[in-house]
């Protein structure tokens, strides 16, 4: 196990969506900067958009939507607990980013006049822009990385950040998952773009890697930021999504909704007005699924042949193209049968919910020199376009920050501790395997953390996670690949513990199914109209605090405030069934 020492001005961790944008924008701001893009996989095909994206879910395009309207929509979709400044900053820069991506060669659907073909999926406004040719995302990004002369290191798993005397970022450590070489990279600023914590719950299929999120994304960014002293926020606001049963990919109502597809119960009846993913929508989905009217299905079989062929083209060539192969295997034809749906395992992902490494509207985290964008950062419902916009903010602001930052000094004691922690599993010849430790952690997550949340269950879950913490010190890895899984098991356990502790801290119910507490069934605005932030205290224990919701920049009227509380279809469906 060699040690490789490198030095850069800015290191961007994660080459999926926000990461490449951050790296390119930092170089555009100052071409002299030494910028490294570090990826656990290969930048060419890494992250959530590995196979492209079938559409923008939050395009704020003049003539179709305004930043004010979008900010309102996201505010009500999150029960009012949002940093509106952060959402508004995204919304105001959304269109400029679409135009830039368009210029780079990314294809968006346009109508016969050349205008963007925006569709309505959300409850209030119209922000969905289909990308039937969106399979080439990564190639376009890669070209920009080369053009901007960003340096790339693939297959290095970042494990811990380095900080200086004032808590500021001084670098990052990690290891190569093919050679186990240890990396110490000195840097003045770090941008974390590591995506969701997607391997937290265990998928219902039992296949550990059959997750909704790209299973490469285990939450390293969350855990690195936490151990470096940065604040994480709203971790009790879990991500739970409505997905194709067993396949565990999007069904996908955003794509099919504008074509006339919808989510239905087992009688083929629509039960929610709006398929946009929110905690309240998931609550209705869960109620239907478990309340005797399940299974829940995606209904397309009433649509015309040409419509179904177009849907098939989008869904089977983009984002999760193996969807078609899955349906074929079971003989499911969109024309003849409804597609069975289910709810996903839990995870942390701000792309669709509101949890993550806390950032402000500039992409800055709570410690100097640290930035975060995309699914791991806290700006809610940010999706792919938000990852790009915040990647840009992070890259540009980090470039400004490093201009005034002094030469970082690496704490060699910390390096030694981390080198030993990473090397340990390879030096052991017996003990539990990473597979066993990971499986058990995630099984406990399902057994005790999945909503409806119960206080006593959370407490038992925490006992199990404490025991598993001890198991980590005995885990064995046979080769560098298994070492990667071993270090991921550390990450997954840390995320699981934080998920349970955050859930216990907020003693109310909020965000629909995401934080449905059996022991505190009501929403309690008086005590809990706030964010919850967590940091690691000097003993390494989780310390929670309430963080005020900053004054809104866009006010909501009373009707708008409750828009997402009325998602269930009024009565005909229930009347007919009765």
């Amino acid at each position: 196990m060699k040690t490789i020492e490198l030095e850069y001005d800015i290191v961007v961790i994660g080459g999926g969506t926000g990461g490449p944008m951050a790296a390119v924008k930092a170089k555009e701001k100052n071409p002299k900067l030494r910028v490294l893009l570090l990826d656990k996989a290969n930048v060419k095909r890494s992250g959530a958009i590995s196979m492209g994206m079938d559409g923008l879910n939050n395009a704020v395009i003049p003539g179709h939507a305004t930043p004010e309207q979008y900010t309102k929509e996201i505010t009500v979709a999150n029960d009012g607990i949002v940093d509106q400044k952060g959402v508004y900053a995204y919304a105001s820069n959304s269109f400029a980013m679409i135009e830039e991506l368009d210029k780079w060669g990314i294809k968006f659907e346009k109508d016969e006049t050349g205008d963007y073909a925006v569709r309505k999926v959300h409850h209030i406004g119209s922000y969905v822009l289909p990308m039937p040719e969106g399979h080439h995302m990564k190639r376009v990004l890669y070209r920009q990385l080369k053009k901007a002369r960003v340096e790339i290191t693939n297959r290095v798993v970042a494990t811990r950040l380095l900080t200086g005397a004032d808590g500021e970022i001084t670098g990052v450590m990690g290891f190569d998952c093919r050679t186990a070489d240890f990396y110490v990279i000195k840097a003045k600023a770090v941008v974390i773009c590591t995506g969701a914590a997607g391997r937290l719950g265990l998928p219902a299929s039992g296949y550990m890697f059959g997750t909704y999120e790209n299973p490469t994304n285990t939450g390293e960014g969350h855990v690195m930021a936490y151990h470096a002293g940065a604040e994480l926020t709203n971790l009790e606001c879990f991500q739970i999504n409505p997905l194709i049963k067993d396949y565990n990919g999007p069904a996908c109502a955003y794509v099919t909704g504008p074509f006339g597809g919808y989510t239905s119960n087992n009688a083929g009846e629509r039960f929610i007005e709006c398929d946009y993913w929110s905690g309240q929508m998931m609550m209705e989905f869960f109620n239907e699924l478990e309340g005797g009217k399940g299974p829940v299905f995606l209904k397309l079989d009433h649509l015309a042949e040409e419509t179904i062929s177009e849907i098939e083209h989008i869904l089977h060539t983009n984002e999760r193209p193996s969807r078609g192969r899955f349906h074929e295997g079971r003989g499911t034809d969109y024309r003849k049968a409804m597609i069975e749906m289910h709810i996903s395992e839990i995870g942390f992902c701000s792309g669709h919910s509101a949890s993550g490494i806390w950032t402000n509207e500039r992409g800055e985290c709570s410690i100097p020199g640290l930035y975060a964008a995309g699914d791991c950062a806290s700006i809610p419902h940010n999706y792919m376009l938000g990852a790009f916009v915040y990647g840009k903010f992070c890259g540009e602001n980090a470039a400004d920050y490093v201009a005034g930052a002094s030469d970082p000094r690496v704490d060699q004691d910390r390096v030694q501790i981390e080198r030993e922690r990473v090397a340990a599993p390879l030096s052991r010849s017996e003990g539990p395997t990473p597979f066993q430790v990971e499986y058990k952690t995630r099984r406990v997550v399902n057994d005790y953390l999945q909503p409806p949340k119960v206080t006593r269950k959370m407490e038992i879950g925490l006992q199990r996670f404490d025991e598993i913490r001890e198991d980590l010190d005995h885990m064995v890895a046979e080769d560098p690949h298994e070492l990667m899984r071993a270090m991921e098991a550390h990450t997954i356990r840390d995320c699981a513990e934080l998920a349970a502790r955050a859930s216990l801290f907020r003693t109310e119910s909020r965000w629909g199914l995401y934080h449905l507490c059996v022991d505190h069934p009501e929403k309690d605005d008086e005590n809990w109209f706030c964010h919850t932030n967590v940091t690691s205290d000097s003993n390494g224990n989780a310390k929670f605090r309430k963080r005020e919701v900053e004054p809104y920049v866009v006010e909501l009227n009373d009707q708008e405030k409750v828009a997402y509380q009325r998602l269930r279809v009024a009565s005909p469906a229930t009347a007919k069934a009765a």
Binding site: A41, R45, P215, P321, R485
Partner: protein, 77 residues
């Protein structure tokens, strides 16, 4: 306690006749997000070494000779 191996059927299948790993190609190994493919150093052909698949398909799409086929993993199928 000893460490045992549990056998599973790998979802990704490589057609040895079409695979050109023996000519130096490593595309499928390079692009896999989970790093589960490898080159068999005896046969000089690509193969799935770890059953840790997201059935995401870059290996199949990017293979220059069409040698790689991604099946849905048995537990998911």
């Amino acid at each position: 306690m000893t460490i045992t191996t549990t056998r599973t059927q790998a979802p990704v299948v490589v057609d040895d006749d079409k695979c050109i790993a023996d000519k130096g190609c490593t595309v499928c190994v390079d692009v896999c997000p989970l790093d589960v493919l490898a080159i068999d150093l005896v046969k000089n052909k690509a193969f799935m070494k770890f059953d840790e698949c997201w059935y995401c398909m870059p290996c199949e799409k990017d293979c220059p000779t069409g040698a790689v086929h991604v099946n849905i993993p048995y537990l998911v199928r």
